[in-house]
Symmetry: C2
Subunit: 417 residues, 2 copies
């Protein structure tokens, strides 16, 4: 059972939009045991679309197409589907009623272009779109399935979960997961690979595959099985061994984010947290707030971007800033210790660093970031040496701070290196 994903849209080709739909669908289909052999992005061009429908349906049993179903004139997928499947559009009364109520609810006028969203190819099964006005379409011909979905991510996801998963499960019996992932933070890909090299042979001897997936500050280890089955206890064994070897780096598995992991630990300890941020300017707090239910443990924070506010809000003595600089162990520890009292939280995390591109010196180059965690026992701190790119430094500072807090919460010994 192979699937191909096709994304239609010039905006994808010219890079104005990042193709997150393909990665989301890739995740969902993998979980259902359906392997994706290819992802194709093509232009809003009728001939190109027709050619692609034909070639992909000859290579795969399932083709999922996203994009080109919006209300505006640049969207041509629906007409092209009619040509390809030799059918024509007709107004679907149920969809029309939904479109009408959609605009009524939002107190917005319904326009002629919106009525046309209820016009659908006669030959398809309509996949109802609760979140929007353009429904999905399911075509089944000669034992092959082609599904067309709107490109707006949350509409596409809604239709996929509600209308497509049950139909696919019926057509193709669900299989077990064929990959498992172990997540690490703060360790280099080749350093990790060197320590894993003996295991690699062991893993491969068991018929499993191993891949390293690096992203800024993180390396994911993906263990996969080519025959569609994987023994959970074997993965668990590798997970435990890796955790024992690198307790300060291995933080979770599968799709967990570091802030979810940290949030879960805080919740279990019934502890609260707050942030005192300089260079990350809310990025650390924001990583907590992204998680639903975070108000149980995340209380708030102080964004002390300027030196004046470091003193005024986080009560850092001006002399400390003058003597050691805003990016120093002394200042970051003071931010955490005083901030903890101001915010009245159990754990206070502070960050102060030089994100770049300016502000670096020979002694403290761009990428120098101090992080501290204060709790009832006092304060610990560490200096990180990141790179020379602002965006990356901000992102890695947040991850490093979350992992530093995680280690403190779990009482993992943090040797400096």
């Amino acid at each position: 059972m192979k699937a191909i994903l096709v994304s239609i849209g010039d905006e994808l080709l010219i890079g104005q939009t990042i193709n997150t739909n393909a990665s989301w669908l890739g995740q969902q289909l993998s979980r259902l045991g359906i392997s994706i052999s290819k992802v194709l992005t093509i232009s809003d061009d009728k001939d190109e679309i027709l050619k692609t429908f034909k070639s992909t349906l000859s290579e795969a049993e399932l083709v999922i197409v996203t994009g080109g179903l919006g209300p505006t004139k640049d969207d041509i997928t629906k007409h092209t589907l009619c040509t390809f499947f030799d059918t024509e559009l007709e107004i679907n009364p149920q969809v029309l009623a939904h479109v009408k109520s959609f605009f009524e609810k939002r107190n917005r006028p319904m326009l002629e272009v919106n009525i046309q969203q209820a016009a659908l190819p006669k030959k398809c099964t309509v996949l109802f779109n609760e979140q929007g006005t353009a429904p999905g379409m399911w075509f089944n011909e000669n034992g092959k399935v082609l599904i067309s979905l709107p490109g707006v991510p949350y509409e596409m996801k809604g239709i996929f979960n509600k209308e497509i998963v049950p139909r696919l499960s019926e057509l193709f019996p669900l299989k077990e997961l064929y990959y498992k992932t172990i997540l690490t933070q703060g360790i280099g890909e080749s350093y990790l690979a060197d320590h894993m090299s003996e295991w690699e042979n062991e893993i491969r001897a068991e018929g499993l595959g191993l891949a390293y997936l690096p992203s800024p500050g993180m390396v994911k280890l993906r263990i996969s099985s080519s025959n569609g089955k994987i023994d959970d206890s074997k993965i668990e064994n590798y997970f435990q061994r890796l955790t024992a070897r690198f307790p300060q780096h291995v933080y979770g598995r599968e799709e967990e984010t570091l802030s979810e992991v940290v949030g879960r630990i805080l919740h279990a300890k019934n502890s609260t947290v707050g942030t005192i941020e300089s260079c990350t300017g809310g990025g650390l707090a924001n990583s907590f707030v992204q998680i639903a239910g975070s108000s149980n443990y995340f209380k708030g924070g102080l964004l002390t971007y300027s030196n004046e506010l470091k003193n005024k809000l986080a009560l850092v003595p001006n002399a400390l800033i003058a003597n050691f600089g805003a990016v120093s162990q002394e200042v970051v520890e003071s931010m955490a210790l005083n901030g903890r009292k101001v915010l009245e939280v159990d754990y206070a995390v502070s960050v102060s660093g030089i994100a770049g591109p300016d502000g670096g010196t020979e002694e403290k180059p761009v990428g120098t970031v101090w992080i501290a965690v204060a709790d009832q026992n006092g304060v610990i701190s560490k200096c990180f040496h990141l790179g020379d790119q602002r965006e990356r430094n901000l992102q890695m500072s947040v991850l490093s701070a979350l992992n530093f807090l995680r280690c403190r919460l779990l009482e993992i010994n943090l040797e400096k290196k």
Copy 2:
């Protein structure tokens, strides 16, 4: 001159990694006047890679391949390139010296796998990688160019800018931009399209194309030319007319972000800004901090996620919270007015809303967000009704707040609707 992008990696197919490389390369190539006819993502499979090299080189003059050059054992692109171009690997002494110094600088041990990164196909032109250890490779055969680049985004970008752009410019003379973009916030795609419908015909009559690119809270209008030339004054005319019609929604053009636009206005006015955030928990502040040089106008903020901190940090009277609720005009205006004094800034922006999934009531459903801006003249506020999805609500709250501030800074009249 057509180009095809090929991304190699199972992690892309199964959606563990989002393919941002393809969109970035799409942007860069479009700017150089090179049009991308297709983006392909394929598996780490030798046969599949060989087949794809062959088919893409028959369809396009330029093929850019990313991924599969890392130091670990799962990476096979380099060997496959040797097979395809009938050549073999040899150690490149210059690259080896660079790899050695790379590890020395970072005080990390160099491993055997890293030495192998200096082994490169004899037939290629080596594209030096300043940011990492895996260089790019440029193959030129039968008038077609195939370029292979590492998948790590900032390494790929570094090589592209430094090594590829000059070579491409030499091979294919640079052309003018073939698209222009007008950016809007807070207006629906179909509403905008309805108001644009007469212009659409005008635009098309001039031989230009028009596309609407919606993303949460935003619609980009892309005006494009199929013959590679575009008259700037015509676009400027549409931009001016659209701005006059929707001054509160049209905020910029091309690649500008709302926070860049707002930052530029603040900088020009020599004014400072601070944030007082509840539901967005640092997301608004973080959108300022992403911009290099933001410390000139962004001073800091108060993250008053809990009601206690709304009172303690932003000095919101407890009675106000008890009587009107934390998500109310009264509270959000108090946050902005008092926060402005605490932070000692010219403009204070406050946000308080119900992001979901819990916390909604009949009167104030999930998605209700109050935003206020205080300045020397007092305070203005507005209630936004967003959707029922947390992540989307947080994202749209930040954009709405930035645009609300932008309108205030430019003294654009904000009729409530």
